[in-house]
Symmetry: C2
Subunit: 199 residues, 2 copies
């Protein structure tokens, strides 16, 4: 990139180090930044540093937050007897967007994946068990992804919970709303059939 | 975005203010930043601020650079009698990547667009004329985009240059290399026909 000067090259390099941002997109972003007022560039730099400095794990559910305990865990109006286990904070956000779930969460920060060398001890499972021990939790909803890793993790957690006796459920797998049967894979179709409900 | 804490929300907002970055991508980038070492976040913030602070227009060709005169204009090995007029620094970079062009550039920072209210005085045309006045430039290659605005600008420049007598050329328009005739629009096909050359 010797046709750009060093600072521009560094800026492009900075953007292209982000996931899903290729050389062309990085160039577009860099020139956009250069075309905007200096205050805007400073603002972006500030929010990056501030977020990275202040954000830590919630002591209860391990989601990313800038407080000791996240807004969801510290909300007394939510049902603390209902815990939804998710793989990441983004999955938590996806369920929060529905606006219908009123329980709390537990963020694993990953899923068990023997292929990638991620075992049960590498995700926040110990913390989940510690949280359940001696608590009054009535139900644990496992909302890991419907991938091989997510299913493995769900199975593993359900086995861990058996001896404790806490009710353990798994979110339904099936045809997505608006989905066209014609384009849906066989495994999903079979799951939808297995999980059929009486009307 | 009340399900994320303020700092994370600000970070997502910062990214989604960039062009072509939607809410989902901004979330992905934000959580990526949060998952990386603090030094990496600081580095990204630094390159943004440094680039925006230091980058200015080259005094000669008006490309974006961190020096008074850009590396291309200050390179005495290049042919300063050949000027390629481009719309943006990114177009300059595109031609530099070919590695074959040894002349210099002139960056307009836009194109004439009556629809968007951009007139000849809003782009770096005055500066081009000032640069040509009394210089020994032998040829001006107009390499504006092959869009309505680019063509308008090319026509306008060619008329400006007529009285001065400087040779003025336009890059060829036609079928892109590897292009499949079947999928190419009629205007391009006609251009390619008009611009045919003897073999």
């Amino acid at each position: 990139m010797d046709y750009f000067s060093k600072d521009i090259g560094n800026l492009i390099g900075g953007f292209s180090s982000l996931p899903g941002i290729g050389e062309k997109t990085a160039q577009r972003l860099a020139f956009y930044i250069l075309s905007r007022p200096e205050s805007e560039a400073k603002h972006l730099a500030e929010v990056i540093v501030r977020a990275r400095e202040n954000v830590k794990y919630c002591k209860e559910c391990f989601t990313l937050t800038d407080r000791e305990v996240c807004p969801i865990c510290s909300n007394s109006k939510r049902n603390h007897k209902l815990i939804m286990v998710v793989e990441s904070s983004r999955d938590l956000a996806a369920y929060e967007k529905t606006g219908e779930y009123d329980g709390v969460y537990h963020v694993l920060h990953g899923a068990i994946s023997p292929m990638q060398g991620i075992g049960p001890e590498d995700i926040r499972l110990k913390e989940l068990m510690a949280r359940l021990a001696g608590s009054e939790v009535e139900e644990v909803i496992i909302a890991t992804n419907s991938s091989l890793e997510g299913e493995t993790t769900a199975m593993y957690i359900s086995r861990l919970l058996k001896p404790i006796g806490t009710k353990c459920t798994r979110i339904a797998s099936g045809v997505p709303v608006g989905g066209d049967l014609e384009y849906i894979d066989e495994v999903t179709l079979l799951r939808a059939l297995e999980g059929r409900r009486e009307l």
